[in-house]
Symmetry: C2
């Protein structure tokens, strides 16, 4: 809210170009507020703001800007400026940013960084963006098991500037293999002459560099931890993941699932994302679904025209059948996708999951089919063929709920098994399948019994 | 996976009743794995397992069990056992558990706890479950600004058993008002004779006890922090929230949004939740939507029967119009609900948000309407009134996408403004509105032009 109020005045202040006044306003704001503000400015003013900030603040602000807008801003900064900003970042953020740059620029920026940082970033660039390696940072505190507490403290003093905060101290052997962990509390309260190996605790869990970030998030949820070491197969510790990174992952994964279920490709801000981008990113699935629905129109016209001409009011119940089937399918698919995301259901239980959901689909179908048949009969009480109509509605509704329950659970699980995103287009695809199945079954039954 | 394998054998081991062997198997498992296992056992075996665990492990296991199952297990434990388990928990978890007990039992359990713990739990019970006060814990480390580092360390030594881990040390004045924070690193590296007030840093952000938990989660996301102090209006620090609690909140809130969008009331496990519960919790919204859809049938029969009898193939395009409108609405509503959840859009921008979404809805409607009209004309090329049909399809599709865009953004924002959950039933409700609007507009236009 505060950021918004300030942002009303700041364009004027920036237009006047008084650096001192700009700094005064900005110094009262948090990096994410400055980022919000920048995204609403004209381009020349954006670089004015970035340039007026000190390197540390500027690097935090850059990280808070939406990726699309960030790309544009980075294009206008020179290599030295980018390298200075990257130099201020922790290795995980630095890697993400360099990964976003065009290959040529990335190489030139890397060349301007201190050797140690280059090595860190190059190590991290090896891992996929959405793996444990992709979200971990290289900055961590390692101490040797043979040191004493006081030696460990002296070592921490030496590297304190590089490691901004720590939640665990990692104890390693001579080959850098992780042996155990020590909490800062323990270090603080233990006699300085005690050997590290006598106070360390065994580490219970760890991630591996290529572990999927969703799996990492599930570990944090299950074990209620705030940091996690990342260990290679040979036992060597290569990084750590902290809870704040995981919070971002969980938010991102949940958003992704929701957007994909709704047939939206990525987060689109109603106001900040340009209209043309929003239309472009929302239309493809809509058009694909529309083609499917037009195929339904084609089938209806060429297979069931005669039936519809004979009993026009058949059309009146098509919305009820399609909506009920569709809603049941979306319920099922949402339950399955959320269960996969939280790790509470497993693809190995495929058969049980399908059975369980189809059973529920059948029960729901019987209830809804009965309600629709009874109320449908009341509505059409004056029609000559009311009983036959009710039967068609009932059978179609039960079939539709069973079918969409089946597809709602088998669809996402199959996608997951094939290593695709289970939520990708489940929603619109399900609508299309359901509408086709529901209307064809309904009209086919009607054709037979009339 | 491991937990699953073991769970295949454990029922036998438990049936044999050999406590030693049970303990041996359980000691290899994590609390959440034991919890998973317990939920799949017969009731008598459940208490056998709980009783065979030491109090500390048992209290962790109890917290990992699903609320429904936990209720049943707690019913069979006596007051002393419950009090022992609660005594092992941190104040936030203890409060949640006591809040789940029947009032009478809760009072009796409280009576068996140590006075300090009773006070903590009673303070926390004042706050709503989904507020900062409801998720915070009372255990934290406070030091006076006038103490020296060495005095502070001695104080931490004294209370170390109560506060399991800490990420920040809170500096207070004589009235317990928060003045600043110190990181464990700083304490570790500073000369013991230094005064606390000389090394503390001002705290930048805090929660207030009645702040909504979603707002708290947004603070963690924006500021990339792992713990946050909770401060009353008078500046007194009353608790702290840690990142692991926030991870649970974010997962819970995201799940809730997804379920509500799909018309599911709460998380239903396809296999563990009984079929009857799943049917009971999924059917209400389906039936409500079905009634709406049957109202559509009623309207079609009594207002448009003649039109449909005249041009039966009108029915063929109803699925396409309803599905496109519905999909656009679900896209919009998902974007709005996720934006509200992440704090990236504000209800104060209502007018701009509606304008922005309706603009996109219009663009999408024009594209889809055109595609549908062209392909529709090709499909129906042999019909006498192909042009009129295409016009009806086009107008209906554009109207439907505009209308559902409007409802998709105005609906959740209005619910949010009225302090209801914006996602509550947005999905099924939207389907119903869209089907009614789409079919009526379509048939009404058809009635006029034919």
């Amino acid at each position: 809210m505060e950021g918004q109020k300030v942002s009303e005045h700041i364009p004027d202040i920036i237009a006047k170009g008084n650096t001192e006044e700009i700094n005064k306003v900005l110094s009262t704001l948090q990096p994410f507020e400055i980022a919000d503000l920048i995204q609403n400015l004209e381009f020349e003013d954006q670089s004015k703001v970035i340039n007026s900030l000190d390197n540390e603040t500027a690097s935090e602000v850059i990280l808070e800007i939406e990726p699309e807008a960030r790309k544009e801003i980075l294009k206008k900064l020179d290599l030295k400026e980018i390298a200075e900003l990257v130099g201020e970042m922790e290795s995980d953020d630095a890697t993400d940013l360099i990964g976003e740059l065009p290959d040529e620029t990335a190489k030139l920026v890397l060349a301007k960084l201190p050797p140690q940082e280059v090595e860190e970033v190059e190590t991290l660039l090896k891992y996929p963006e959405d793996s444990a390696g992709g979200i971990m940072q290289k900055e961590l505190i390692e101490v040797r098991q043979d040191s004493t507490v006081s030696e460990a403290i002296n070592w921490i003093r030496l590297i304190a500037d590089d490691v901004e905060d720590f939640h665990e101290i990692y104890v390693i052997d001579q080959k850098e293999r992780l042996l155990g962990v020590i909490s800062p509390k323990k270090l603080l309260l233990t006699n300085p002459r005690t050997k590290i190996k006598n106070i360390m605790e065994p580490f219970e869990i760890n991630a591996t560099p290529f572990m999927d970030q969703e799996e990492v998030a599930n570990l944090f949820e299950k074990y209620d931890i705030v940091s996690l070491p990342v260990i290679e197969e040979n036992g060597v510790i290569v990084g750590r993941i902290t809870a704040d990174d995981v919070i971002d992952v969980i938010t991102e994964e949940a958003s992704e699932d929701m957007y994909h279920l709704a047939g939206v490709q990525e987060y689109l801000h109603p106001i900040y994302t340009p209209t043309s981008t929003r239309v472009k990113l929302r239309t493809p699935w809509l058009l694909l679904t529309l083609l499917g629905e037009l195929l339904i129109a084609f089938v209806i016209i060429y297979a069931f025209k005669a039936t519809l001409e004979k009993v026009a009011i058949l059309a009146a119940f098509m919305p009820a059948i399609m909506a009920t089937g569709g809603n049941v399918g979306i319920q099922t698919t949402t339950i399955v996708i959320r269960g996969l995301g939280m790790g509470t259901i497993h693809v190995g239980e495929l058969r049980n999951l399908i059975l369980a959901e189809v059973k529920v689909g059948l029960a729901i179908g019987l209830i809804c089919g009965l309600v629709a048949a009874v109320i449908g009969s009341i509505i059409t009480i004056n029609e000559p063929k009311v009983a036959k109509l009710a039967i068609a509605v009932f059978i179609a509704m039960v079939s539709a709920t069973i079918a969409t329950s089946f597809v709602g659970v088998a669809g996402p699980l199959t996608l997951y098994k094939l290593k695709f995103d289970p939520a990708a287009a489940s929603g619109p695809f399900l609508t299309m399948f359901n509408d086709l199945f529901g209307s064809v079954v309904y009209l086919f039954i009607a054709m037979i019994i009339f």
